[in-house]
């Protein structure tokens, strides 16, 4: 019973993530790449994403605190962020990155600051959500069940 509930909970949770636009089908693609040969593929990639994103966000924050802001560099960093977020299907972060890049091109400091805050916020959310999802999956696995597709 417990396992079935957990499984249902996971499916509901995942659906809600898709539904609310946190994730898109790229994440599904990602999941489809995971197989017996590569059982922790998704977690591995997502961890990479977290690592990379945190580094980029820190750099961006620092860059914006500078007297002279290097917008070109920031643009490259945001591009990186955009690329990685779109790779794992973090839809909202990716969208925000597009806006962020526009502000960078326009060299709009206020807009950049605002966007950075939003990106950080969204990143925090998606990180929490994904982590809790992975926890759920882990629980299911620990309980000896399989992860529903």
């Amino acid at each position: 019973m417990d396992l079935v509930q957990l499984q249902r909970q996971l499916v509901d949770y995942r659906t809600s993530l898709y539904h609310e636009g946190f994730l898109d089908e790229q994440f599904t693609q990602l999941q489809s790449l995971q197989d017996e040969n590569n059982p922790d593929f998704v977690v591995e990639v997502v961890s990479l994403f977290f690592e990379d994103s945190e580094r980029l966000l820190n750099e961006l924050s620092k860059a914006l605190e500078q007297q002279v802001i290097d917008f070109k560099r920031m643009d490259a960093q945001v591009h990186q962020l955009k690329g990685s977020s779109s790779s794992i299907g973090a839809h909202r972060v990716q969208k925000l990155c597009i806006v962020f890049r526009n502000y960078c091109e326009a060299q709009n400091v206020e807009g950049c600051l605002k966007c950075l805050q939003q990106v950080k916020h969204e990143y925090g959310i998606i990180k929490t959500k994904l982590e809790s999802m992975f926890q759920l999956e882990q629980q299911i696995l620990n309980a000896g069940g399989s992860i529903p597709v």
């Binding site: 790229q26 693609q29 990602l30 790449l33 995971q34 197989d35 040969n37 590569n38 593929f41 591995e44 990639v45 990479l48 994403f49 690592e51 990379d52 490259a76 591009h79 990186q80 955009k82 690329g83 990685s84 779109s86 790779s87 794992i88 299907g89």
Partner: protein
């Protein structure tokens, strides 16, 4: 006469004006408004003309009447006066004559000399004296001339008379005796002449006055009329032109009014530009108010003016009459006075100048009695002698009576008291006892005139001046009338005119007095005048200005006007005045009232009419504005409706997709037969609903103008093939032959919206299938519009047959695809703009296609053909019952065609069929720009290049269609119409090279004949044997072209060996290729099977390098590729990639990110390629051995870009720097497969 002339002249002018306006009327806009305006103008004009005429006639009449009356009046009066004077003179002579019987000649002469002043008109007498006194005569002549000029100027007879009398008086000092008769006769002649002259001049002046008045009135009338005309032209013109100007240009105008109109238009233009319509309305109202006010002011002014004129004329008349009366009175009085003067001289001559006296009381009384007619106004005359006190005694003795004193102090001579009763006069220095008297006053004999105060003054003054003096008025005896006494002094010798008063007193011997009855004098005078009744005359003695004494006249009733004329009775001390009044108060000035009221009424009327017009215009403007608003709202509502439809349709579509998807999934589960049937029905219904919704959505999109066409390159022929293949199920079921034909001149690839193009054709083909029953064909053909233009030399065979259709009607079957008759397709596009329009703006980049869909269906009823393109309207309400459908498709198609800048049209005959045609503009496309779908045929198609084919078909169009498809594969085609001719054809080419190429023979089912086919086959076998050819090689394959054949039938034919294969119509490139490949047995046929291999098999064991700076991306790509069995190496920088890919290396492909720090994907690729080409050169030149580079003679690693933004520009840039293809990030399986398949297929 001349007046009439002027009148008619003005009439002419009026009518001319009228004509002008009428002419102008006819020029205005052709509507009821013009009528209205004309009425208005007419009314206005009528009003003006009528007032003008009334006014004119009235004034003319009154003036003429007045002047006539005056003329006659004055003439009569003057005649009378003249006559009177003449009579007076005549009487004088008569009196003299009567006197002659007694006195001697000297005395007469003396008397005549003195009494000359009494004969004022006898200048002819003086004429005889010319010789004697030339000087005087000259001066007199001058006087006469003066008199004459004065006469002409003033027509004043009195002045003339005065002057005459004065001068005659002096002239008469020298006179000779002239016989009385001659004098009288000559003077009569003279008088009549004078009279004539006077009358003539009087007449001459009057008409002049009349003309002056007349011309004044006419001038004013014309002026007013002109103002009216201008106003009436302008106001309606301005008002109306504001509204109508844009609508209708005025018809050609007459030159006279053209300028005015132009001016008006310009003005209006300005007004239009400056002021909004509301302002114009206000302005109009203001103008109207101003106009009405002006009219009222004009009428008031008119009234005042006319009234003033009447009053002036009245005053003038009164003054004239009064002056005239005063003058006449004065004249009469003077005449009488002169007579009394003469009497005084008579007395002096005959009483004092003779001793003894020739006159006693008896003589005096008798003479005065007999000459009383000459003094008609004197009640009596008396003569008093000057007696000094010293002489009193002697005098009293001599006469035998005492000098008596007047009884009372005042002058009233009491008649009934006897002289005897009176007291003797008191003692004074001198006395003036009356010694002679006329019988009427005989009672005053012996009375001392000096005893009365008034008489004393009179006597003293008279003798001092030597002239007649007057008393103030007093009541006369007997008549009880007011009277005055005139006193003349009688001198004993002639005194010089400048004698001083003392001398005169000295010479005085007596006094002659005469009493005048003033009232009767005036009465008599007034009686003589005709217009006595109209005026009241009062005469006053105003010697004492503060207390005037009334001498004549009744009580004064004030009738407004008063004219005062002064009277001169010859006594300088006494002043008299004549006061004249009209008896009646002035009548109301009806003429002025009428005229002004008329003008007022006309003004108000016109004002009312204009007001009504302005109100109407305002109303119409309001209505118009309202309608505009309503229109805008209606349009907005329409747009809203369309938007609503679009939104709702879209919203419905989304859940419907869910429903359909679920149904589809439901059908995949285990269902029993009934459940499956239900589910399938639901699914089919849902699909119908979706298609309907799509149509509605399209319609709504079109109506709200939101539908936009794409511009993408597409292969027209493939598109048509796919359309036909989709509908082929239906058409084959119905047994209808369907075919597609595209002209050679149509390029392979065009740029446009393939979806919409497909939609149109699908719709038309769908309709055709729907309405075609079990026979005939559906034929889609595509041509260039330019091919249609020159009808004389149509190169295309299919088109030619369309042209020749009518000629072939005589033959049994028609030269159409199926042999059934069709409508003339040329009719369907005869109205197309693209075809007819000579618009030479032929954009060389654009090609214009003409698509024709021909069927042999039921056709469209003639009466329904008009509304076939209206949405939701079908040819017949029963149509939807029989055939279904909403009737929206054609409407959508029409809109889509319009979006493609084309036309759609049709020709239809009930029972024969319909042909729909449409045109559309497309861009020219490059073959290479097409997506890879087309390319998959490429190697296959090249296989068939250079092969030959023979088509055996009895219908040339069908043969052409087949030929078209074969030619797409590069197969050259020959056509024969029957199997027999095919046999002869085949045998005729056996020896030529053409036979070597002949790879296939296609036989249509219509000409299928088993025996002949066998014959053909044996012929071919024969030939092969003859030539000793290999059994397996190259006999032409025989194909059968059929429309509807069951698979059983087909396999039977195939197995029986008659044919190699059966081709099912409609022909399609893919079907043809598959069929030919199978028949011709090419090894390449397996290629297609390989293509089906999975991505996994493609990528297995491939060594792939992934270059991406993004860790996450790199990992994802790695994961994805690993999943398909590839061996993946990852690097994160461009430099690393360069090192890895330096030949020799073992990688099979490289996936490269474009945006990387330091060295981006483009640069990396460029460097890789340059390194490769370096190595290749070296290898080619043999510089280095091939072994050094892994036995690869030509190094070229496939590099695929990984990019998120898949846009053309990026793609081109990728190709430019040497990349082979791109895949979009994140990876999708299908795309990845397509990309890598190109490189890895051949390798396997």
């Amino acid at each position: 006469m001349s007046m009439n002339g002027k009148l008619s002249g003005s009439n002419c002018r009026l009518s001319a004006n009228f004509r002008l306006k009428k002419a102008k009327d006819t020029m205005h806009g052709p509507n009821s408004f013009r009528k209205w305006k004309r009425n208005l103008l007419f009314l206005w004009l009528l009003g003006f003309v009528s007032t003008g005429i009334i006014w004119f006639l009235l004034s003319f009449n009154s003036v003429a009447l007045d002047s006539n009356k005056k003329t006659t009046d004055s003439c009569e009066e003057k005649a009378r006066i003249l006559l009177q004077h003449f009579n007076v003179s005549k009487n004088q002579f008569l009196a003299l004559a009567s006197f002659f019987y007694e006195p001697d000649q000297i005395a007469f002469l003396k008397c005549g000399k003195h009494s000359g002043l009494e004969k004022p008109w006898s200048d002819d007498v003086t004429c005889a004296l010319k010789v004697l006194c030339p000087e005087k005569q000259d001066s007199r002549m001058q006087q006469v001339q003066i008199v004459k000029t004065t006469e002409l100027k003033d027509q004043c007879p009195v002045q003339v008379e005065n002057i005459h009398s004065e001068h005659d008086f002096s002239l008469l000092d020298h006179y000779t005796y002239v016989s009385q008769k001659s004098v009288s006769s000559i003077s009569r002649e003279h008088h009549s002449g004078g009279k004539n002259i006077l009358q003539g001049s009087a007449l001459g002046v009057r008409p002049k006055d009349n003309f002056k008045n007349l011309s004044f009135f006419m001038g004013k009338g014309c002026w007013l009329l002109l103002v009216g005309v201008i106003l009436s032209c302008k106001i309606p013109g301005v008002c109306l032109k504001l509204r109508w100007k844009r609508k209708n240009e005025p018809a050609p105008l007459q030159p006279a009014t053209q300028q005015l109109q132009l001016l008006l238009q310009q003005k209006q233009q300005q007004q239009l530009d400056q002021s909004p319509p509301k302002g114009a309305g206000k302005w109009r109202k203001k103008l109207l108010t101003v106009f009405v006010l002006l009219g009222i002011l004009t009428s008031i002014w008119l009234f005042w003016h006319l009234n003033q004129k009447i009053i002036l004329r009245r005053e003038h008349t009164l003054a004239n009459m009064c002056d005239e009366r005063a003058r006449m009175l004065q004249d009469q009085f003077n005449v009488s006075m002169n007579h009394v003067h003469a009497l005084a001289i008579l007395v002096s001559t005959f009483h004092h100048g003779k001793h003894p006296s020739a006159i006693d009381q008896k003589t005096f009384g008798e003479y005065t009695e007999r000459t009383a007619f000459e003094r008609p106004l004197t009640s009596g005359v008396a003569y008093a002698l000057k007696v000094l006190h010293s002489e009193r005694e002697q005098f009293e003795k001599q006469h035998g009576w005492t000098i008596k004193k007047m009884e009372t102090e005042d002058q009233t001579l009491v008649q009934d008291c006897l002289t005897e009763n009176l007291d003797p006069a008191p003692i004074k220095d001198e006395y003036a006892p009356v010694i002679f008297s006329q019988e009427t006053v005989s009672h005053i004999v012996s009375i001392d005139m000096m005893s009365g105060q008034q008489d004393l003054e009179n006597i003293l003054r008279a003798r001092a001046t030597g002239k007649g003096v007057l008393t103030s008025p007093f009541k006369l005896l007997k008549s009880n009338h007011l009277g005055v006494v005139l006193t003349f002094a009688v001198y004993n010798k002639d005194l010089p005119p400048d004698a001083i008063p003392e001398q005169r007193t000295e010479a005085t011997v007596g006094y002659l007095g005469a009493s005048y009855d003033v009232p009767s004098l005036v009465e008599k005078l007034l009686h003589q005048l005709a217009s006595k009744q109209t005026i009241v005359v009062n005469v006053y003695d105003t010697t004492n200005a503060s207390a005037p004494i009334s001498m004549y006249g009744t009580d004064i009733t004030d009738t407004g006007l008063l004219h005062v004329s002064s009277l001169d009775f010859g006594d300088p001390l006494r002043k008299h005045e004549m006061h004249c009044r009209f008896k009646q108060k002035p009548p109301l000035p009806w003429m002025a009232i009428n005229a002004s009221v008329g003008v007022l009424v006309i003004t108000l009327l016109v004002g009312h009419i204009f007001h009504a017009a302005i109100c109407r215009i305002a109303k119409v403007e309001n209505d118009c504005r309202e309608m505009m608003e309503l229109k805008a709202r209606a349009e907005a509502a329409d747009v809203a409706k369309s938007q609503f439809l679009a939104t709702v349709s879209h919203e419905i579509r989304t859940p419907m997709n869910g429903v359909l998807g679920m149904l589809k999934m439901l059908m995949d589960t285990d269902l029993d037969a009934i459940q499956r049937d239900y589910a399938e029905t639901a699914h089919a219904s849902g699909k119908d609903l979706i298609s309907l919704i799509n149509e509605v959505l399209d319609q709504a999109k079109i109506e709200s103008g939101r539908l936009e066409l794409e511009d993408v390159p597409f292969d027209l022929r493939n598109l048509l093939d796919s359309i036909l293949s989709l509908s082929s199920d239906k058409s084959n079921d119905k047994g209808i032959e369907s075919a597609v034909y595209v002209s050679d001149r149509v390029p392979e690839v065009v740029v446009g919206d393939p979806g919409r193009f497909r939609q149109i054709i699908t719709n038309l083909v769908g309709n055709s299938i729907k309405f075609t029953q079990d026979k005939g064909h559906i034929f889609v053909s595509v041509h260039l519009v330019d091919e249609m233009k020159g009808t004389s030399d149509v190169g295309d065979k299919v088109l030619q047959q369309g042209l020749n259709l009518v000629q072939d009607m005589s033959s049994k079957t028609y030269n159409t695809l199926s042999g059934f008759p069709v409508v003339d397709r040329w009719r369907s596009w005869e109205n197309f703009k693209m075809l007819n329009g000579k618009d030479a703006k032929d954009d060389p980049e654009k090609i214009r296609l003409l698509v024709t869909v021909e069927d042999t269906g039921v056709g469209i009823r003639l009466d329904a053909q008009d509304q076939i393109f209206t949405p939701f309207v079908q040819a017949d309400s029963s149509t939807s019952r029989h055939y279904g459908g909403t009737g929206i498709g054609l409407s959508i198609s029409k809109h889509l065609v319009e979006l493609m800048h084309g036309d759609i049209g049709f020709a239809s005959e009930p029972g024969v069929g319909s042909t729909f045609s449409f045109t559309g503009a497309f861009g020219k496309g490059e073959v290479s720009s097409l997506d890879s779908k087309w390319k998959q045929y490429d190697p296959v198609v090249s296989e068939f290049q250079g092969l030959g084919a023979l088509i055996i078909d009895n219908r040339s169009i069908r043969a052409e269609v087949t030929k078209y498809h074969l030619r797409r594969l590069g197969i050259s085609v020959d056509i024969t119409s029957s199997l027999e001719s095919a046999c002869t054809y085949v045998s005729s080419i056996f020896t030529t090279s053409a036979f070597a190429h002949l790879a296939m023979i296609l036989i249509d089912k219509d000409v299928w004949n088993q025996e002949t086919v066998l014959q053909l086959r044996s012929l071919l076998e024969q030939h092969r044997k003859n030539c000793k050819l290999n059994v397996s090689t190259n006999l032409p394959k025989i194909f059968l072209l059929g429309t509807s054949m069951s698979p059983v039938e087909r396999s039977k034919l195939k197995t029986s060996g008659f044919v190699d294969n059966v081709l099912m119509k409609p022909l399609r490139l893919s079907v043809l290729i598959a069929c030919f490949q199978e028949a011709l047995g090419g090894t390449k046929g397996k290629v297609r099977g390989k293509k089906m291999s999975t991505l996994g098999s493609l990528l297995r064991e491939k060594r792939i390098l992934v270059v991406d700076d993004n860790k996450v991306n790199r990992r994802v790509a790695e994961g994805a590729l690993k999943k398909y069995g590839a061996i993946v190496t990852c690097v994160e920088r461009g430099h690393d990639a360069l090192n890895k890919l330096k030949p020799p290396h073992t990688f099979d492909a490289c996936f490269m990110d474009l945006q990387m720090p330091e060295m981006d994907g483009f640069e990396a690729t460029r460097q890789i390629r340059s390194a490769e080409s370096e190595v290749n050169e070296k290898l080619a030149s043999g510089e280095v051995s091939i072994e050094m580079y892994g036995n690869v003679s030509h190094w070229h690693i496939p590099i695929l870009a990984m990019t998120a933004d898949v846009i053309q520009a990026t793609y081109e840039k990728c190709l430019k720097c040497g990349m082979d293809d791109y895949v979009s990030k994140p990876f999708e399986e299908e795309q990845l497969y397509l990309a890598v398949a190109r490189f890895f297929e051949s390798g396997l």
